[in-house]
């Protein structure tokens, strides 16, 4: 689905990402973990085509450099971390997800897809509220809805649970898994909360100083790796095949 080969990136000759290799398959939820400044967001922006890295990114076996931004927007959707806000209504914003498909303006098909996505995320009641009137959780859901209206094959999320309460965090995580499995989309998301990651990931990439330190199933979330990547001592308790990470002494 998406293959990243020898990806490197520097901001003003300051190396941020260094020779990353990985791939994401259909229907797979991958979480990228790592401390602040480790390059997680930069990696997402490279895959989204916002930054131009060295190395190769293949989307459905096509190099990112050979795809126009508009064509890419039909295959890949990106939800940045900082919630966008403004005067547009929820409906207008989700409709923007159809932008890559539009000629002069939206068609009935576009409106139908927007309605489908809104009912999938139970956003109908908010349809004509303005973005600047929404709560953090609502805003995040709207942004995910906008991304889904693009009908992407790959969904990139930057800290989707930031600033959300527990209920919203779980709701968003369940939703993301459901979408990945039902629509066979690969989801690549950065994440700070190790426990949430261990609960909802198919695969985990741990990044340290712009390099992949460890990757694999949730078993990579062990004491040693967390100590090495984050520099903190933790206890990892295994329960029903899931890992619970507790701060150690």
């Amino acid at each position: 689905m998406i293959t990243v080969k020898n990806l490197s990136f520097s901001y003003n000759s300051e190396p941020v990402l260094n020779d990353l290799n990985f791939e994401a398959r259909e229907g797979e939820v991958i979480f990228i973990l790592g401390p602040n400044g480790s390059g997680k967001t930069t990696l997402l922006k490279c895959i989204a085509g916002i930054l131009k890295p060295r190395g190769a990114i293949l989307v459905e076996n096509q190099s990112l450099n050979d795809i126009s931004k508009r064509e890419l927007a039909k295959k890949l959707a990106y939800v940045p971390q900082r919630g966008d806000t403004g005067f547009l209504t929820v409906f207008d914003v989700i409709l923007l997800g159809r932008k890559p498909y539009m000629g002069f303006g939206p068609t009935n098909e576009d409106y139908r897809i927007v309605k489908d996505v809104m009912s999938l995320l139970s956003l109908e009641k908010l349809a004509f509220r303005r973005l600047n009137e929404l709560s953090g959780g609502e805003l995040q859901k709207v942004m995910i809805a906008r991304a889904l209206a693009q009908r992407p094959r790959i969904l990139l999320l930057d800290e989707p649970t930031n600033n959300l309460d527990v209920k919203n965090q779980i709701e968003i995580m369940r939703l993301i898994r459901k979408i990945a499995k039902e629509s066979n989309i690969s989801v690549i998301s950065t994440m700070h909360d190790l426990n949430l990651a261990s609960l909802y990931a198919d695969r985990i990439l741990m990044i340290k100083n712009g390099k992949i330190f460890a990757s694999g199933g949730i078993e990579v979330l062990n004491k040693e790796n967390i100590k090495a990547v984050y520099g903190v001592d933790v206890e990892v308790v295994r329960m029903n095949g899931k890992a619970v990470i507790l701060p150690g002494d």
Partner: protein, 338 residues
């Protein structure tokens, strides 16, 4: 859903009706009052009051109001600055400086002895220099916002600085110009709708048609740009390109208007804001609605200006300043963009 589309429909009807109503009213009202019947019967003939005095003035006012409002709506979107408008960014003042320069030093215009009126001899050279002047403001603001991430307020302060610089430069030219020229250059300081001829109106109309077509074509890109640039890029929009093209076209449209009518402030600020707050921030509606509302606003202001102290005509720029400045301060206090 139904409620929202009803609001759009209602706004559409109210806006168009009030434009038509104020159009007919301002044809009737004046130093010589006419009844609507008289107006309609004289439209069919070549009555000089209608064809040579009132109609050119009214058509100019509608076009200039619409142009400034649409430019303001576009600038507010692409600069992500709700206080942006041709006037508050110093673009109008830059254009007025360019136009005055062409008239005084390049002989593009003819000053009458009375000092009251001015005939633009070369209707292409003046807008060209006006556009050039407006580009100076645009490039200063663009450069500043590139170098430093300017807050909306700081960007407007830069605009105010550019505006006073251009006003000073225009005054300096007046200072050294002949006495008769002085009064006529004042023309650009206060917008006045009463000096255009049909040829100039066609020029404004063409510029308005071309630019507005482009703006309408870009309406979904503008919606995408109300979100972050990153989101816009991920939707296949090229923010740099849309921003540059839109800023150039809106400045061009402003420059054309200023060349023939002088500086009119606040229409570009008030019209889009009223629509955004009361109807919709969706550019599919915001652009056409602001255009119609801007035209209506300026038409009412001009009709008011030429009748309230009749027979003295108050330039419309003075009227809009009296209405617009309090609104501007109100917007500043509300901080409604946050």
């Amino acid at each position: 859903m139904i409620e929202y589309s009803r609001r759009i429909r209602t706004a559409e009807i109210v806006l168009v009706t009030s434009l038509i109503f104020s159009f007919i009213a301002s044809l009737c009202i004046g130093s010589y009052n006419l009844t609507p019947q008289e107006v309609f019967s004289s439209l069919a003939t070549d009555s000089p009051i209608i064809w040579d005095i009132r109609l050119p003035r009214i058509v100019t006012t509608i076009l200039v109001g619409a142009s400034l409002a649409v430019s303001g709506a576009v600038m507010q979107c692409i600069l992500r600055n709700p206080l942006a408008s041709p006037f508050t960014l110093g673009i109008s003042q830059g254009a007025a400086f360019g136009a005055a320069f062409a008239i005084i030093y390049l002989g593009a215009g003819l000053m009458h002895r009375t000092g009251e009126s001015i005939t633009i001899l070369n209707p292409y050279l003046v807008p060209f220099f006006a556009f050039f002047g407006s580009l100076i403001s645009v490039s200063v603001i663009l450069t500043l916002s590139k170098i430093r991430d300017l807050s909306p307020e700081a960007m407007i302060l830069a605009g105010v600085a550019m505006a006073s610089l251009f006003q000073a430069a225009t005054m300096l030219m007046q200072y050294f110009a002949e006495d008769v020229m002085v009064a006529s250059v004042v023309f650009w300081t206060f917008g006045d709708m009463g000096r255009t001829n049909w040829n100039e109106i066609y020029i404004i109309l063409s510029a308005f048609a071309v630019c507005t077509t482009y703006f309408i074509f870009r309406r979904m890109d503008y919606n995408a740009l109300t979100l972050s640039d990153e989101t816009a890029i991920s939707l296949g929009v090229n923010p740099q390109r849309v921003r540059l093209e839109s800023l150039l076209l809106s400045s061009f449209l402003t420059a054309i208007c200023v060349s023939f009518t002088g500086i009119v402030g606040f229409v570009g600020l008030v019209a889009p804001h009223s629509i955004r707050i009361s109807v919709s921030g969706d550019h599919r509606y915001l652009i056409p609605f602001s255009t119609v509302f801007g035209a209506t606003l300026l038409l009412i202001a001009d009709t008011f200006g030429r009748t309230v102290l009749s027979p003295v005509l108050i330039p419309v720029g003075i009227v809009t300043a009296f209405v617009g400045a309090p609104v501007f301060i109100y917007l500043l206090l509300m901080g409604s963009w946050r």
